[in-house]
Symmetry: C3
Subunit: 425 residues, 3 copies
């Protein structure tokens, strides 16, 4: 995963343009994405697809002729969606188009201006402070043209029409945790999901954040509302620090329950944020009237780590082990979704475990824990508790529960309730 | 307000009689009350209107001819509803008709006997202890006649039929916090409500406690049950001490929610009592089968302050600032009720705030709190949350919330849900 | 009760056989039990009635001819359901058929093998350690024959068809707390219930644990599901230690509420176990699809006291005061069930207590607690609160509540809601 991330890192992505297309074509080498183009001006609820942005080169030359800022060095140097400019300005006039972070003097900040036409450069505050009085030449060779917004979609059919929705975004230039960890981990999840049959159908999208989510929703909402059982927004999933969680708007959906169940077992020190702390595409997926059951399982959450939205969010911040940890926890959540059912017993009263070789033949003072677990699963398998409920009631690990359910199912004593969570209606 | 209180203070009120009428006629100088007379013997559920009581003079002359107790000095000296008496008694015989408070030796207690015919005098325990052996002349020149019970009503029409019910009582003789603060503050609220158009219709009553509430309910219950959205019982609202709250019987009504919302913001150190601590007309308004959404917002609650139901509850205990504080918190609660709606967004997904000038055009690392508030209001404006819910979810002040809602409503992004709380059905 | 317990103690009970019959015939001297016989091989849900077991004698003779273990000394010495054996074995070979408890070296453990044919002896670990090398003669003169399973039933008709279900078990050999305290206390409860008319019908069963419960349910389930309002599983109710409670599977049934209400008032230091700690016939009564509202009120709970399932659980561990305490708390719970109703007031507004002699005629500063209680009962008697709710809302004792409700009922101010909990549908 880290190699793929490093390959994607240098590309200059934005919400539209060649960077998005190049990114998707690299991902398509791994998974069979369908690519969609939506023309500039297309409506998406309250929004419309903006002009497509391309930038060829951009630089600032100092009064002494030296190139002090160059887009070639780092694509964060240009404010996203900058209009073309070719001018000579005093330092004072230039300042109003410069962006830097006094609190992080080494970092180039990430700045955009998608919906108002302007231009600007971003640079390390330390470098900005060293600029001398004089006249600077600024060049941005960009264009804003009628074009299209590009996104990728992968539908992996399952044995039911019910869907798990996975969304990640591909609109940030060279930054690693937010965002490249998202498409990279999602690609690996897709490869794993493609490797064997599943109960659920998987709808996986690689889209520009916000406008891409709105465009996708505006074209697919009725179907998604009918089919989606759980959704994951995959972002900030590659560093080596804490795990984080942002719930769906109202909480308590199958997505919330499965993700929290896994995080509590595997990473009990994870940070549980409120929906008030949201900041990615769940803003659209969970908005009133859309109300898809989408949660975010992350490592260091956007806005909460110092390198966020700067050039410091790079391929060293994101590590192979960080990506693998994030991938693993999402995989565990999906496995739980796949296995999850509302179980019910097949007979009245306790079954006679003994005649099935599941109970000790000699009655003594103590019941063995493994036998106890089988009896406890049966006691609560009344069709109103799914695996997530059972784990919480019985206080056992997911693996113990999977094994107990399998033993009882094989013995014919347990069955998924007809019309349970995995079935389409 | 304090001047009006001082004017009303000397009047000898009881549950019927000329004191009530005089009080109402003074209040009618400020607000256009309708006065109702309900004849003795009229039924009110399990009760009937008692005889009307009038007292002209009442005194006790000591053996040495000095007047030791005189109704002219303080109308608390006579037990309410005392029958006429003119007798000469030994001190021993007199004692059984005297009432005083050993624990408050300077205070004249307030005692009544509405529903059993008897007579009595109340006096400071200190004075009682100084009474010498000998024969005392006791005179109460009172009468209990077939007459009527008097109450005042003010209906202020709003733009909807839905009503806010405000009740206060006018049956206590010279005591200031319990009760004159109630009618005085209610009169000022009525003046304020009359000064500009409102969403709700206001039903404001000035009644004798208990029997007046029962009489009023027995004549208006079906209409009140249909129309009342929230109700306030106004009493003990004039001293300078703590704020207090008694909920409706089951709690959680719009009245409870609005009052608690304001108290928590403005006076977080208020005392939240249980309905088990009730003691005023919510006893009737919230009784089973009546079940109006009525709460009491008070300052020092009846029974909880030392001067309660004695001559120490006077015009010094109640202060201009105490009255104004009480008035202000009730006004804030009513303003909240007027503004309160279940809001819903007008578009799917987040709206594009930028094109309405509500979003910074440059995207940076941090979202401004004011912008964040707009997005948060929109995120929870799904028609299931009213302003009180929004405040609690978002953790902002009422004024910030009012402003955010106004900004979004002006931009056409938010609207009250049709059929919301303020509408009649 | 303790005398009856001592009389039943020596009998060798098992899940079938003469010991059960002898026990029931002794209990029938006290209460008019109906005795049922269910033949070997009869189906009961997933189970079938096993062969009937009888044992005449059983012993182990040491190499020196001395009898080291004899069933005549203690019927725990033989593993329950041992098949016949008459053999001479080396000590090494004998060991695999011996059971003892190293952690309790003086105790003979209780061991059974109902559903796999084997034989064995139980003895004190101390004695086992002293066995010398050599050849031992082992004799078990038992038989496993086609016979029947025996249980007792007592139906005490009440004024309604609604039933209280009481279950206790009679399948353990000489052990006192688990189990003889159960049938002994249940017999005394039955005598008390027979002594005067009741609202509820009582269904009381004396059955072998597990298989007896399953047999009884398989023959009576539809009727029991229709009629049962609350059920008590009576076991481990005779020692002098703590009180214990195991809830029904989901909790919150009338049985749970009544038992907890009494335990909290009378024995606030009781131990409240989870349904996960279950281990008696509630395993069947509360299983999915059966779902009867059955709880266990106990003293030292099975599995939780050191003497459990050993010869140390004897007539000294169970005491007269222990049995009486257990009996009393169950009686209190049944009294509460009998008195429990959803009460409602008979008039709108507060009634005029004064004209019924229930209110002081003189109004003063303080309302008497007894009057306050009447008003509080009336305030919450809206048909949605039963006695158990009222106790919890008002924080009074059951006896105070019973008295208040009786006073108000006599005055015609309170009535049980039609169709309340005691009525059959």
């Amino acid at each position: 995963m880290h190699a793929l991330l490093r390959k994607l890192f240098p590309i200059c992505r934005s919400i539209t343009g060649p960077g998005v297309r190049e990114t998707l074509s690299i991902l398509r080498e791994h998974v069979p994405l369908s690519i969609y183009e939506v023309p500039t001006g297309a409506q998406a609820f309250d929004w419309e697809v903006p002009k497509e942005w391309r930038v060829r080169e951009a630089y600032i030359d100092a009064p002494d002729g030296s190139r002090v800022v160059d887009f070639k060095d780092n694509n964060l140097h240009v404010v996203g969606y900058s209009i073309p400019v070719d001018a000579v300005l005093s330092l004072a006039d230039l300042q109003s188009n410069l962006h830097s972070l006094p609190e992080l003097p080494e970092a180039i900040p990430y700045v955009t201006s998608y919906y108002r036409e302007t231009w600007g450069f971003c640079l390390a505050h330390k470098k900005r402070m060293r600029l001398k009085e004089g006249r600077y030449r600024v060049v941005i060779d960009s264009e804003l043209i009628s074009g299209s917004l590009t996104y990728g979609e992968l539908i992996i059919p399952g044995s039911t029409d019910s869907e798990i929705f996975i969304s990640t975004y591909i609109c940030h230039p060279s930054m690693a945790n937010n965002e490249l960890s998202g498409p990279v981990v999602t690609t690996m999840l897709a490869k794993w999901l493609l490797s064997s049959p599943r109960k659920f159908t998987y709808r996986i999208v690689f889209i520009p954040e916000t406008i891409g989510a709105l465009v996708y929703l505006s074209r697919n909402l009725p179907e998604m509302k009918r089919k989606t059982r759980a959704g994951l927004n995959v972002t900030c999933i590659g560093d080596d620090r804490v795990y984080s969680f942002v719930p769906s708007r109202k909480g308590g959906t199958l997505a919330d329950r499965a993700a929290l169940c896994v995080l509590r077992e595997d990473h009990p020190d994870f940070i549980e944020y409120s929906y008030l702390d949201r900041g990615s595409d769940e803003r659209q997926y969970c908005s009133p009237g859309i109300d898809l059951p989408v949660v975010s399982v992350m490592r260091s959450k956007y806005r909460e780590y110092p390198e966020y939205h700067t050039s410091l969010d790079d391929c060293e911040l994101v590590t192979p082990s960080g990506l693998f940890g994030g991938y693993s926890v999402l995989k565990r959540a999906i496995e739980l979704l796949e296995r999850n059912e509302f179980y019910e017993t097949t007979c009245l009263g306790e079954p006679q475990l003994g005649k099935r070789g599941l109970y000790p033949t000699i009655g003594r003072r103590i019941t063995l824990p493994a036998v106890r677990l089988l009896l406890d699963i049966l006691a609560y398998a009344d069709g109103s508790n799914d695996l997530i409920d059972l784990k919480s009631i019985l206080g056992v690990s997911l693996d113990e529960l999977y094994q107990g359910v399998e033993t009882l199912s094989r013995a014919g004593l347990l069955r998924p309730q007809a019309g349970g969570s995995g079935e389409s209606d």
